[in-house]
């Protein structure tokens, strides 16, 4: 089956649906208006994505999700450029800096993000290349397409709805005193957690979006989810909006506990 055509006739969501149903392996190449995207699949699951000139190397993605500072990224480019993604990933895992699950989940978030951006493409020639696969030195993921397909289908409608529900981003948020859902029970994504950690009546949605580097739509979607879950509510801003972002504090280990921990280490090392 030759799979080629134009997005005007066949939407990205429909393509994903087809690839999923037929368990296809290969790469979907789409020539958009200003850039080209390549989405690779294995057995109908999302494996890899590349859009335009965007750097999708592991280091760049970790930086994107703030798991590497700009300085660390620069240092890696300068001195570890000879390492491919798989080698760098292993090195970081061995260093105890990041877990394999987190790497995979960040790659997944990034690839999903690329696909989401494609949902907005309405014009462009596409072609499915059966013999084109992700570069061997990259880390592939295996993500079921179902959720993305559902998301794509809902997206247009949802975006209109979101703009109605959250007309302004100049509002604050607070946690409900008696939430309908416990936050532990919710399956929050990394991005959602980051948003949650900034929720405070003094921070506007716009400020939260800016520190979490989310665009208007992304922040709306997350906030909408939290509103729907009955976890937070919108509060009007006071006259003077705060500039400084307040971060929820991390609970420190109790001092006694720390002391006992060090004492256990001492006893153990004496016995070596």
């Amino acid at each position: 089956m030759a799979l080629r055509g134009n997005l005007r006739d066949f939407t990205v969501t429909q393509l994903l649906n087809l690839i999923n149903l037929a368990h296809k392996s290969g790469t979907l190449v789409i020539d958009g208006s200003n850039e080209t995207a390549q989405i690779s699949f294995r057995d109908g699951k999302l494996a890899y994505a590349q859009i335009g000139q965007e750097d999708n190397h592991l280091a760049a993605i970790l930086h994107r999700f703030k798991r590497l500072s700009a300085g660390q990224l620069r240092a890696i480019h300068l001195r570890a450029d000879h390492l491919n993604d798989k080698e760098l990933g292993l090195l970081l895992i061995n260093a105890g800096y990041i877990s394999q699950e987190e790497i995979l989940s960040l790659l997944q978030s990034y690839f999903i993000d690329v696909v989401r951006r494609l949902f907005k493409w309405v014009d462009g020639a596409f072609q499915f290349e059966y013999n084109l696969h992700p570069p061997a030195d990259r880390i592939p993921i295996r993500l079921d397409l179902e959720n993305l397909i559902i998301e794509g289908a809902r997206q247009l409608r949802e975006w209109e709805q979101l703009r109605e529900e959250i007309p302004s981003l100049e509002m604050g948020l607070k946690f409900l005193d008696r939430p309908e859902t416990s936050i532990q029970k919710m399956n929050l994504s990394l991005e959602e957690w980051r948003v949650v950690s900034y929720i405070n009546p003094k921070n506007t949605i716009k400020q939260i979006a800016s520190v979490t580097k989310l665009n208007d739509m992304e922040i709306r979607r997350i906030i909408y989810g939290l509103l729907q879950a009955g976890l937070v509510e919108v509060v009007r801003q006071g006259s003077t909006p705060r500039v400084e972002i307040l971060r929820s504090p991390v609970t420190p280990l109790f001092k006694e506990k720390q002391i006992s921990l060090v004492q256990r280490l001492i006893t153990r090392i004496r016995s070596i």
């Binding site: 240092a75 061995n94 260093a95 105890g96 002391i259 153990r268």
Partner: protein, 180 residues
């Protein structure tokens, strides 16, 4: 299960890998590579490129990891990553190679800037006949009297244990001290 980590750092060939080997219960996962430049090859055959990794299990729910940093400057991008969340660190200095003292001092300062955790300095290879005396090293390294400078022979387990214990005592002292 809780894990804590301590970092062993210092200039090229100071004995960091050896230090961790002497106490780790697992074979040290050393990421060593054959040395490429002739200058360095004259000193030793293999060098650590990413890190060394040793482990000491305390009990069912506490494990201590020892991370050794690469000594060569061109791998220092790993340092900050390795130092994240460390309980304390050890700066190893080769007592027989005064030409590395200055770098040792600069590594010490770099790590101190990453995190204000306690640290000790280990004067390694004290078994060598041309090893410097501790007091001379203290002066050369410009260490103030309140900083622990400990004699060390990384190949001897007891000496390594002593360095680790001294660091832990400093950590304990600081925890007690910071109590208001």
């Amino acid at each position: 299960m809780q894990t804590v980590k301590m970092v062993v750092t210092g200039p090229f060939s100071a004995g960091k890998t050896q230090f961790i080997r002497s106490v780790s219960e697992i074979d040290v996962v050393a990421t060593e590579r054959k040395i490429s430049t002739p200058d360095e090859r004259a000193i030793k055959q293999a060098t650590t490129v990413a890190m060394d990794f040793g482990r000491i299990t305390v009990d069912n729910d506490l494990v201590l990891y020892l991370f050794g940093t690469p000594g060569q400057k061109r791998f220092d991008f790993m340092w900050e990553i390795l130092s994240e969340g460390m309980l304390g660190f050890i700066v190893m200095i080769d007592s027989t190679r005064p030409e590395t003292f200055r770098e040792g001092r600069s590594i010490l300062e770099t790590f101190r800037a990453y995190a204000p955790t306690p640290y000790v300095v280990a004067a390694n290879k004290q078994d060598e006949p041309d090893a410097w005396e501790l007091e001379d090293m203290r002066n050369a390294l410009r260490l103030s009297p309140n900083i622990k400078l400990l004699p060390c022979v990384a190949t001897q387990k007891e000496a390594v244990k002593n360095v680790l214990l001294e660091l832990l005592y400093s950590i304990l002292l600081e925890m007690d001290g910071s109590e208001k």
